[in-house]
Symmetry: C4
Subunit: 269 residues, 4 copies
Amino acid sequence: MTYQAMQERLLRLKNNRAFELFVVAVIIVSALEIGAKTYELPTFAYSLTSVLDVFITVFFLFEITVRFIAEPNKKDFFKSGWNVFDTLVVVVSLIPIQDSEMALLARLVRVFRVLRMVSIIPELRVLINSLLKALPQLGYVVLLLFIIFYIYAAVGSYLFKDINPFLWGNIARSMLTLFRVMTFEDWTDVQYETMEIYPMSWLYYMTFIFLTTFAFLNMVIGIVVSVMEEEHKREAALTSTEPTLDDLHCEIKELKAMVKQLAEQTPKS
Amino acid sequence: MTYQAMQERLLRLKNNRAFELFVVAVIIVSALEIGAKTYELPTFAYSLTSVLDVFITVFFLFEITVRFIAEPNKKDFFKSGWNVFDTLVVVVSLIPIQDSEMALLARLVRVFRVLRMVSIIPELRVLINSLLKALPQLGYVVLLLFIIFYIYAAVGSYLFKDINPFLWGNIARSMLTLFRVMTFEDWTDVQYETMEIYPMSWLYYMTFIFLTTFAFLNMVIGIVVSVMEEEHKREAALTSTEPTLDDLHCEIKELKAMVKQLAEQTPKS
Amino acid sequence: MTYQAMQERLLRLKNNRAFELFVVAVIIVSALEIGAKTYELPTFAYSLTSVLDVFITVFFLFEITVRFIAEPNKKDFFKSGWNVFDTLVVVVSLIPIQDSEMALLARLVRVFRVLRMVSIIPELRVLINSLLKALPQLGYVVLLLFIIFYIYAAVGSYLFKDINPFLWGNIARSMLTLFRVMTFEDWTDVQYETMEIYPMSWLYYMTFIFLTTFAFLNMVIGIVVSVMEEEHKREAALTSTEPTLDDLHCEIKELKAMVKQLAEQTPKS
Amino acid sequence: MTYQAMQERLLRLKNNRAFELFVVAVIIVSALEIGAKTYELPTFAYSLTSVLDVFITVFFLFEITVRFIAEPNKKDFFKSGWNVFDTLVVVVSLIPIQDSEMALLARLVRVFRVLRMVSIIPELRVLINSLLKALPQLGYVVLLLFIIFYIYAAVGSYLFKDINPFLWGNIARSMLTLFRVMTFEDWTDVQYETMEIYPMSWLYYMTFIFLTTFAFLNMVIGIVVSVMEEEHKREAALTSTEPTLDDLHCEIKELKAMVKQLAEQTPKS
């Protein structure tokens, strides 16, 4: 059998509906197995998961190989981020880990197999792509939010360090505490503690909450507006076969020229 | 009296405004009775509720029978989800329950009678229908949210199981804990506990909160956009009797052809 | 001096800019006095507030009398909800209260004088009016939310009454507890308590949170869409002097008729 | 070298891409230094930060001088709020502070240097400007929110002062407590405490939460709508070169006049 023939046969296999469903089924089984392992399992079930582990690893290796060979242009294969992601997940789970220390790491790596669910379902891929596309727009708002956090964390550390080192010990801890304040999680406990030494420190929390809420709101509204605009453009593109007012304007002008010429041509009565 | 005559009479009864209001009144009384039963009642009032219970059950049976007979095409009756729902509620509350064990169940079933309020008020039915219509669109975002929850819960179980089995004992418990984190409910307590063993575990919570908030936001925006679009289409449908730019374009072209023909017809001066 | 002359003079006083500002100033002073009374005051300051109280009451009575007499048509005066509100606030604070028991009530009534701030500033009146106009639209969503609360509260009372009578003792207490759950306020404490007896009760909280969040979201989106639509209509009204496509269509048709007639009139060459 | 020549040279320096990047780098280093100081530093690192401090102060002074001299019209320099802000930050950090009491203040002032990040990055400046522009629109909603807070705080102080002076001692404390209730932070603890004396006080909290949530929502929707409108106008401005329906109307009318004249000119056959 030539390579060409094999490639064609694998391409047919890859696009086979039953094969696709089987891949999804294996991913679901792999996800269930990961969940099952968090329970105390009887010895029998435990050894079953070991067998399953090997089968899933081998099957994923097989599936990625099929897709790689079926690809006519090998260079394009790794241009797709999803293919790179799938290959990484498969390759990393192939590394043999005997060390009991590393067993935990091996388990964690296998958890990422569940993410293959995203790469195999086209609708989820579209969703993730659109989420990723929205991110850069938000870049500057996130930077602004970070600057606000950083300044407040520095001030918090300078002022409140001696009051509660656990919360305000250094700038990293302070930022974590401020994130907690931003989620309104027991923030009054934090506030009442510092108000005993600095009675005006409620101003610190109040302004922080207003600034971050305002910036966050701005971010949300930014996404809404940009999503709406895209929707608008897509709609506009759909109706682009309709003539514009500009087209009508041209036509009417041509018509006027024609009537004018006709008037010159007609003998004055 | 023929069946035909009875059917007509019942149809008239069903559409009678006073009868409709009486049905609503009985549903409200049934709701109040359900609420009253949660208080300690004197013996007299308690026996009154028993009588009321029988009356309401019989009346609901009567009302659904009237509606069934009044329906000209019996097959269509069960095509409406609301009719099926009403019938179920009535039939289930007819089952005689003597067993004291089951008394609680009988009470719970009767609570669903309050939902008949939704099926009897047209505006609420419209509202529920529009909510149900919005659901499938959200399907993939919910699936994505579930995958995020599942992966984080698996990782959480593997890493934090020994720190607090109550919160991270298995994947189900972990998902419940993560839902709690998503609602910001005492999430820092959960975080501080794991940070004692894994000082970097704040990354776990931070990324989880960002991912779920982002996905949730996306869901909300999705609903807003789809609702807006529907509104837009409804409006467009209302103005569809107005000529489009396309129509005007055609008219102008016809006009140009007419002028052209006229020019050919006119003798050159 | 005739009544007519006095009315005219009072109307001029009422519309006097300085008088308007003085009224606002008195309202602000009255608000500050209310705030000051919540502090421990020295005897001197306390007797000052008593004098102020009398002055403010008398001035408000004077001001409402001026506005009433200045009104040409007395019947129209009480057609405005704001006038009725102002009169009520003034009249109630006139009732002499000697009883120390009622002193608290007298104080509370005076607090509502601050609301006169809303009735005196036109922009705030517009804001409140637009808020009130948005309410009826939300009526059915609020009713739906109430039905969800009622059903869950009834079920909660039946199931969890013996676990914690303070939280689930009767349907009113249960609704209060559910409102707490809806605001995510220590809701896991409530949940963990009931999960000890009914391990599946997390389903109760989960579904409740999903339903109420979904309904609430729907309400918010409803307001957004209706506000947008109004904005849209207002804009459309502003551009209504521009010709519509329909107008253009008519004009072109007339033009065609004219050209057609011209063609018939022109001798065939 | 003449002043003119120096000015030109400095203008070239100011607009030099490398110089701009160096300024950003110094700001970042200054931010990192501020963060580093919140940690316990070894003596060596500590003396390094002192040197850095001097260098950054001198460099910022140099940079602001360059920008001032490079400005052709000196009066315009302080018309930009950003220039005023930068100058203030630099000048204040120049004040020599020996007193150990004031050392904390000196540190706090230096924190504001991080805000220069905002003034140096054009995109962040645009963002802040647009945020500031949105503020006045919200003025009246904020005023309404404040009035609601003030009235509830006064009532809260009058009623609940003796129950918990820490929370309701005076109107300022009450407003802080109400802000806490608005963020849903352990608000049920506050409520359960007052419900022991006033069993109906849940009405106080319930109405407060509804009013503030409603007003806040209104504010958010206000921003969304105004942002959308601006977007709309910007788009409309972009398409303003396209002829309007009004233009087309005029053209068609002219055309009709021409055809009419032509008809009069043509001899009746």
